[in-house]
Amino acid sequence: MSALLEVQGLGKRFGGLVANLDITFAIAPAQIIGLIGPNGAGKTTLFNCIAGFYPPSEGHIIFDGREVTGAAPDKMAMLGVARTFQLVRTFSTMSALENVTVATLLHDKRLSIARERAMQALEFCGLSRRASVVAANLTVAEQRRLEVARALGLEPKLLLLDEMMAGLNPAEVQEAVALVGRIQSRGIACLIVEHVMEGIMPIADQIVVLDYGRKIAQGTPAEVRQDPAVIAAYLGEA
């Protein structure tokens, strides 16, 4: 099976600060990859490079067989890469339905059709009853799900989820885990940045571990858990 996304030797510097260095990995269609690492490991930077928000300093990003290194975010959305934000960025004055409609308009500029598709995305994320509520008045958990619904409204092939479980209670984490499962069963690949280990470990096919901007390990959740380098990164050298 050919890869959906290939990241090859990716590096990103901000002035003298090296945020990412020589990162290489691939995602297959409908695969779930977890991206973990201590704070400041460069997870969100890597994310922003893939989503087109930062142009990489070196390396290549190949999506769906096409070189997309340095492509703008709206171009990436068009090609099939959708994302959520670590700090929720819903369109706060717009209703939940309108939030998702902005995304579904990508493929069809007719409002009636875009609204219909947006409603389906809301339903998929369990938000249909909150469709007319202004985003600013939703709970944090609902806002995170709204971001997922909005991202799904793009009908992506790859979904980048940035700490979607942060700040959620255990019941909400379980809901989020179930939602990711349903997304995967639709054939959408997911790259998930997560700190909540009980959220990511059961669902990820592969885990990529970053530390100080470099990839220090990759494997199944069970393998990664045993990896001495990973343990050292999280707990410190003995």
Partner: protein
């Protein structure tokens, strides 16, 4: 469902019939001034309200509209009606050229850049002898009638032209509000980064907003020139005019369809009343009041009068303000 009378049609009918009741020419002139500044407010709102790109340089577009149609008329005898479209087009091209670099700036920096651009344009026109420089341009008034766009005997035709232009501008804003553009503009205003992530090309859609906004503003400039039959940089390109255009929207309700109309009504009243009370010696009194209004609106009613009324109505209805979307 109960069939309701469209409030828009009621206002329209009232506006059409108003000159039958308001027969005093100076009162009619007041209504014309209200509609002209309302039209500019609605046009500004497309860029500043919906798309959230606050401009304090709209006098540049207004002036370009006024100068283009006037120069075409004086130099080549082109009908002001054609001049109006030409002026809009020139303003649009100017807006695209200016917008391209300025839209790289965010928030306040964009607003500052628009002030600078309008200011530069005013200086250029003040010193450009072949367009009349600071002396200004007088328009020919010998020919009268609809074709010439000049009416000396009665101001009434200007009333209906201003009303027509206002309605056209409101309809344009309404069409945008209810199309995908309305969603895109509001998304850009709320969260530009998130808008990019769902495929909205920020620069492209900001340029769409400024094109429509500048075209309509320039059309208002041509109407002003034909009504006053005299233009100079100080009257059609002044920064105070830019502020007034923006203020109509900010006071009435940024991003609402009729907010700028209400705002324009209030501002024009202030302007006329202070002129009557203080006369020439009190010049600038209206500007002091504008300053106060900006303060009060910014602190207590950030969503303007329309936003304030909406929140009030929702509170009366026993709902949490903003719990349901108005649109």
């Amino acid at each position: 469902m109960i069939k309701r009378i469209n409030p828009f049609l009621v206002v329209f009918a009232a506006a059409c019939a108003a000159p039958l009741v308001v027969t005093n020419p100076s009162h009619q002139n007041f209504l014309i001034l209200v509609m002209m500044s309302a039209q500019l407010g609605v046009a500004w709102n497309i860029l500043g309200g919906y798309a959230g790109q606050v401009s304090f340089g709209h006098a540049a577009f207004f002036g370009i509209g006024a100068y283009t149609s006037t120069l075409l008329l004086i130099q080549f005898g082109v009908s002001p009606w054609i001049g109006m479209v030409a002026g809009g087009t020139v303003a649009m091209i100017f807006a695209l050229l200016i917008g391209w670099p300025c839209f790289k700036l965010k928030g306040h920096y964009f607003a500052i850049a628009t002030i600078a651009v309008a200011e530069i344009l005013q200086v250029v026109f003040t010193n450009w002898t072949s367009v009349g420089s600071a002396v200004g341009l007088s328009l020919p008034m010998q020919q009268e009638g609809l074709k010439a766009f000049v009416f000396n005997a009665s101001k009434l035709p200007y009333y209906y032209i201003a009303l027509g232009l206002l309605i056209g501008t409101v309809l344009a804003a309404r069409t945008i509000e209810r199309s995908f553009l309305g969603h895109y503009f509001r998304a850009i205003k709320d969260e530009p980064e998130a808008a990019r992530s769902v495929g909205v090309n920020l620069t492209r859609y900001k340029l769409v907003a400024i094109s429509v906004s500048s075209f309509l503003t320039a059309a208002g400039g041509t109407l002003y020139a034909q009504k006053e039959l005299f233009i100079d940089p100080a009257s059609v390109m002044a920064t105070s005019l830019s502020v007034k255009i923006a203020l109509a929207s900010i006071l009435g309700g940024v991003g609402s369809l009729f907010g700028p109309v209400i705002g324009a009504g209030i501002l024009t009243s202030i302007e006329e009343v202070t002129r009557q009370i203080f006369g020439g010696s009190g010049r600038g009194t209206d500007l002091i009041l504008y300053g106060l209004i900006i303060l009060v609106v910014a602190v207590y009613y950030p969503n303007g009068i329309v936003g304030g009324i909406k929140a009030w109505g929702e509170r009366l209805a026993g709902r949490e303000p903003g719990s349901e979307s108005g649109r």
